[in-house]
Each structure stands twice: as structure tokens, then as C-alpha cells.
Amino acid sequence: MLSIKNLQAKVEDKQILKGINLQVNAGEVHAIMGPNGSGKSSLASVLTGRENYEVTDGEVIFDGKNLLELSPEDRAREGVFLAFQYPIEIPGVSNINFLRTALNEIRAYHNEPPMEAKEFLRLTREKQKLVEFDAKLTNRSLNEGFSGGEKKRNEIFQLAMLNPKLSILDETDSGLDIDALRIVSNGVNKLRSDKNAFIVITHYQRLLEYIVPDFVHVLYDGRIVKSGTKELALELEEKGYDWIKEPATTASVG
């Protein structure tokens, strides 16, 4: 589904991504971990087409298409979804109106007619239930005055509504209380299928107990320096990142 080869990118003349390689297939969940500032959110930004990042080398193929050539909205319409680490507030724009616009824009891209109001309402109810999202929040202005946790849950609600192929969750777990973490994870698990894939960026192994990944990658200084299975997350929890930061030394001493 997604194939990233030697992806390099900079922002304001600072090289952030220094050659990322990653292959994600349908049905898989990949976790990306790594210390603060290592480039995790940057990778998400480059994949979704944020303007201030300049790709300097490499390629990204998504479902046979060159993702880097598409506009941000077309990437979204192709089925790439980012649950933001810091969701933005948009005053005055109702959550529901926003979602309907988004959904219908995506449908239009695939030559489908706008969803009928009744059907949209039904879908909204269904997904609200699935991710246990407070109906009151649905009618409020988009993220305006939402608590940190509510914003994160809204991201997952949107994900459920838009039904993307590839979902990137950027630290969706941080800021969630224990119950919310369980609810959100359950939601994601219910949305998992053999047709979609997830990239889960997190600092905590705890999340990966709920959303069990097929692979765990460690991003450090703009590169994926280690990949493994879910056991790698446990190891990181125990030892921290130091042993990975200097892979050469570790190896020779080891």
C-alpha cells in the first residue's frame, strides 16, 4: 500500500529526514517510536504534504501513485489520514458541517454523489457510538474549547467517519485518560481490516498493548535505526533509547 524509499526532507534549511525506508501493506499496523525531535511528526507532515517541508530526495508510492506529486487535499482524498498531534481549532465552523464537507469532497473525487442527509446522519450516529464520541461535541465548533483529550477523540471520530486507507496516528494517546485510551484503542481495533493500514506514532508501550502492532520501528535523527516486532517496544520501555542511539558501539561491546 505504502512504499517509502530513501525519503529525505528539510525544513528551513535544516535536514530533518535523512533517508527513510518503510514498507506498509494493507492489513498491517506499524508503530513508530523514537525520542523527541527525532522526526516522527515531520515524517507524517511530509507524507500528508505540509507546505513548509521540502523533499530533497527519495520517493513515496501510495497505491501505485506518486504521493509526493499530489496536493495535500488529493492525498487525503486518495485515503491518507493524519490524526494530528496538535489538532487545530477552527471557531465558528461546526464539527458536523466540516465533516459533511470533507466527506462529500472525498466522494466527489471518486465520482460519487454527495451523501444524502439521512444517510449522513445515520453514519454519524453509528460512528459516534463506535468511538464513544459525545454527540454534544459533534455540534460544537471544530475543536474550539475542546479539552486536550476531546480533541484527540475528535480525530478518531473523524477517522471513523472518513474511513481512510492509511491512517497515521501522531501521539493520539498522549493526553488521553486511561478510560479514553481504552475507548480510542477499541475504536481503532474495530476499524482495522485487511484493506486498511495504520501507522501509530507513540512514546508509550502501553498503547501498543491495546493496538497491537505488527512492526515497531525506531526513528532516530531522521532515520529508522531499528525495526522489530512488538517485543521491541517492551525493550525500549525498559532500556530507553541510548542503546539504539549508538548502534555501532552497542554492537561491538555486545
Binding site: T48, G49, R50, E51, S71, P72, E73, A76, R77, F81, L82, F84, P87, I88, I90, P91, G92, V93, S94, N97, F98, T101, A102, L103, E105, I106, Y109, S141, Q158, L162
Partner: protein
């Protein structure tokens, strides 16, 4: 325009043209220039009574004495008042033979606004079949209004048919000497709307100029007078969301509203005149004096405006709150882009006890547009417990535009409560990207954000009008980001 108007067009399309507002004056145009003789000529053409001619002449005298306004936040354009023709008989002939002759850009905008073809023709000034003539639609409205004793006609006609009302109220809210442009308007006003709602009558429909002016050509010096007698109610719509191309560069209109005891007037405007090209060339200067007076207790006047057009917009719809417990409202969205300038706001004069006013102003600036809010809240010594709330927001799109606020507060009564809130925000790249990431392109994203921002004002408009105003905002701001 409103969907129901389209239905009505359809419904009455087979009715014969019977009578309407077009009185049969021979096509005529006065030579350019402004002097007493021209004013006498205009008055004579209209068959006006002596008192009205004298009133016009007093307006002219006041105009000559008044200096150009100097306090606004823009350089005042040089206007050659002698280079304007002050009288042209109403245009009864169509400008174009068919739609093919109309500027395709204009048609494209009509399409985007979803205006039916029959109405597009009327708005663009294309010859329409007699069956589509808006005059016949107006006629059917007239019959309903008559049943309620409501008068809705041109001012010229009202001068002939209801001289006592005109003499009593004309200039009673905006005197001929009020300001330079009001004085000019008093001297040479061409025509406009007259509305009278009798005691206790709730006007059963939105009154709209759209149905009164048959060619969509509003004229340069319009004069509107609306009187709501005791306990009555009226909602009046001025303008149209469709773009107005107009050869007249300067417009100086006057609107006067009179609400008697327990009466309510809701006045909504959508102004979409030609703003000029990207460099601001050719746009319209819109200098309007709008004022309402709540004469009796518990009267209410509410102004709602959506201003998107004109090169310069210069207007301050105001309310004089004379009756005890009367209230005034002002809801405004003003958009400026390219080189457009808007200097707009309101004045609320609290004279009676317990008077209330509410001001919600939303400025939107894009490109190199300059947007100023200028508002006055004046509380007189007798206005015990007067209250005002002002919310004044500015939204910036891009970094070459400007927003300015000039709130003035004058209070002579210590029991008054005056609240003022102001915010300035910018459409952030982060917001746009967030919406992009959900599949919404940048144009739509801006439209979504802007309509959200202006919602509080748009909600004041009658439902159908609000939907169109929303579309209009989106179209106006097309291409202003990125």
C-alpha cells in the same frame, strides 16, 4: 434571489403586465452639472409640490456649504460634481438583446450563485419576455400588501399619492443638512422606496427592492423611507447577491427608518457593487447615510448588512433610541480585497430610559483591502440604565491587508453599562492545512472558515438570503489565499 421568488416568477409568468411602478415619463436625460436650474428641472419632471422643491433647494444650499468629510480612514477621492448627470428617466429599454452579449464573467458568477436564467436576464439587463417581467411579479405582491393596508411604492409615486406622509417624515431622521452626501441626495434624489406599515400590522412578507426596480438599475441618488406605525412589524431587504455593474461611479443614498411605539423594523442589505479591477480602477464609491429612529417606547430597529462590493464603502447605519426601552441592533459583515476600502460601523444614540443596543461587526480583509470599523455609542443624561454590547472582530487573510477599529464611547449617564469586545485573527496556514488534510481544497477551506466567522451576522438574515450571502462570501474571496 430567494427561491420563493423564483417560484412566484414561474407561477405568475403567464399573467399579463397590468400596471406597476414604471410611470410613463418620456426617456430623458439632463445635461451634466449641478445648479438650481437642474434641481428645478428634476422637481418639475416629477411633478412635485412646491414644498418639496423648496426642500430640495435647501439641500442644495447645504451641500454647497458643507466641506468634504475629513475624518475617515482613507484618502478622500476627488469627485467632480459637475461631471455627473443628475437626471435620467428610468431605463425601460433593455441593455442587451440576449444573453450572448453579456459579460461571460458575470454569467459565471450568476451560475455560481444558482440564480435561475430568467432572473439572470433581468439582473443583467437583457430583454425579457413580457411574461418574465418582474413588474408583473411586483404587481401580485402589491395586491397582498393592499389587503393589509401596507403601502410599498416608489417615493415619486408616494409623493403623488400620500403627500401628507412624505411631508411629515421625509428628512425627519436624516435632515437635508446632515452631511455633504445627504445634502446632495436631498437636492437631487432620483427615486427610491417608500414603505408604510399601518398600526398593528405585521407585514406578511419580506419586502424587497428587487421586485420594485424593474431593470435592476438602482440609480445614483436613491432615497428610502420606511415608517412602521405603532405595534407594526416589517422586514425589508435591500440589494441582491448578484453582482451589480453600474456606470455610475458615485452613489449617495439616504435611508430613513421611523419606528413608532412597539414597532419593529428589520433592514437587511447585501451590497455587491462593482469593486473595480485588481488595481481598484473603475469601482463604485458608495457613500450612504442610513439612520433609524425609535420614536416610541419599546420600538426596535435592526440593521444587518453584508458588504462585499464597491471600491469605497462609507456608511454608518445608526439608530436614535428616543423611546424608553427601545432597542437598536447592528450586524455587519464587511469584506475588502484587492484595493477595496470599507469604512463602516454604526452609531447608537441612547436617549430614552432603559434603551439597549447591540453591535456585532465582522470585518474581513484580504489582498490589500483596508477595513475600518468606526462606531459610536452615545448615552445621553436621561438614558437611565442604558446598555450597550459591542463585539468587533477582524479577520485577516494574507499579510498585505489591514483592519482598524475606532470605537467611540460618550456617556453622560453613570447608570449606563457599556461593554466592548474586540478580536483580530488571521486565517492560519495550520487551519488551512488541517482542512486540506481532510480532503477540502483551499478555496473551500477559506469559505468554510469565513462563513463560520460571519455566522452570527448571517444568521440575522432571512433564511434564503442567508444561504445566498454565504455563497457570495465564498465567491468574493475566491483566489485570495495561496
Amino acid at each position: 434571489m430567494a427561491k420563493n421568488s423564483a417560484d412566484i416568477l414561474e407561477e405568475y409568468s403567464d399573467k399579463e403586465y397590468e400596471y406597476g411602478f414604471v410611470t410613463d415619463i418620456e426617456m430623458d436625460i439632463a445635461p451634466k452639472g449641478l445648479n438650481e436650474d437642474i434641481i428645478r428641472f428634476i422637481s418639475a419632471k416629477k411633478g412635485e409640490p412646491q414644498w418639496l422643491l423648496e426642500w430640495r433647494l435647501k439641500g442644495y444650499e447645504a451641500f454647497l456649504k458643507q466641506p468634504d468629510p475629513h475624518w475617515q480612514n482613507f484618502e478622500f477621492p476627488q469627485i467632480d460634481f459637475q461631471d455627473i448627470s443628475y437626471y435620467a428617466a428610468p431605463r425601460t429599454k433593455a441593455k442587451y438583446k440576449d444573453m450572448n452579449e453579456v459579460d461571460p464573467e458575470l454569467i459565471a458568477t450568476f451560475e455560481k450563485l444558482g440564480i435561475p436564467l430568467s432572473e439572470q436576464k433581468i439582473l443583467a439587463g437583457v430583454a425579457v419576455d413580457a411574461v418574465f417581467d418582474s413588474v408583473s411579479v411586483a404587481t401580485t405582491f402589491q395586491e397582498t400588501l393592499k389587503e393589509h393596508g401596507i403601502i410599498f411604492s416608489s417615493v415619486s409615486k408616494a409623493v403623488q399619492e400620500h403627500p401628507e406622509l412624505i411631508q411629515k417624515y421625509l428628512g425627519s431622521v436624516v435632515p437635508y443638512s446632515d452631511n455633504k452626501f445627504a445634502a446632495l441626495n436631498s437636492a437631487v434624489f432620483s427615486d427610491g422606496s417608500f414603505v408604510y406599515i399601518p398600526k398593528g400590522v405585521r407585514c406578511p412578507m419580506e419586502l424587497s427592492t428587487y421586485f420594485r426596480i424593474n431593470s435592476g438599475n438602482t440609480g445614483q441618488f436613491e432615497r428610502t423611507l420606511i415608517i412602521a406605525d405603532e405595534g407594526s412589524y416589517v422586514s425589508y431587504l435591500e440589494g441582491c447577491t448578484a453582482p451589480k455593474r453600474d456606470e455610475n461611479q458615485m452613489h449617495a443614498a439616504v435611508v430613513e427608518l421611523v419606528a413608532l411605539e412597539n414597532a419593529e423594523i428589520k433592514y437587511s442589505t447585501v451590497q455587491n457593487w462593482y469593486p473595480g479591477d485588481k488595481d481598484g480602477k473603475g469601482g463604485i464609491y458608495n457613500f450612504v447615510t442610513k439612520r433609524g429612529v425609535c420614536r416610541g417606547a419599546n420600538a426596535k430597529i435592526s440593521w444587518t448588512q453584508v458588504e462585499t462590493g464597491s471600491a469605497i464603502t462609507w456608511k454608518y447605519p445608526s439608530v436614535i433610541l428616543r423611546g424608553d426601552h427601545s432597542s437598536g441592533e447592528f450586524y455587519s459583515v464587511a469584506v475588502t480585497k484587492n484595493k477595496q476600502i470599507a469604512d463602516t460601523g454604526t452609531k447608537m444614540f441612547h436617549i430614552g430610559k432603559g434603551t439597549k443596543s447591540r453591535i456585532i461587526s465582522k470585518g474581513i480583509s484580504a489582498g490589500e483591502g483596508q477595513n475600518s470599523y468606526r462606531g459610536l455609542v452615545n448615552v445621553g443624561s436621561k438614558a437611565e440604565n442604558a446598555r450597550n454590547f459591542t463585539q468587533c472582530d477582524s479577520l485577516l487573510i494574507g499579510d498585505r491587508c489591514g483592519a482598524h477599529t475606532f470605537p467611540y464611547i460618550e456617556s453622560k449617564n453613570r447608570t449606563a453599562t457599556i461593554e466592548h469586545e474586540a478580536t483580530t485573527s488571521k486565517i492560519g496556514e495550520d487551519q488551512i492545512f488541517y482542512l486540506n488534510q481532510r480532503g477540502i481544497d483551499t478555496e473551500k477551506a477559506v469559505a468554510l472558515i469565513v462563513n463560520g466567522y460571519a455566522k452570527e451576522v448571517l444568521n440575522q438574515l432571512p433564511m434564503e438570503f442567508a444561504v445566498e450571502a454565504q455563497k457570495l462570501l465564498s465567491i468574493t474571496l475566491e483566489g485570495s489565499v495561496g
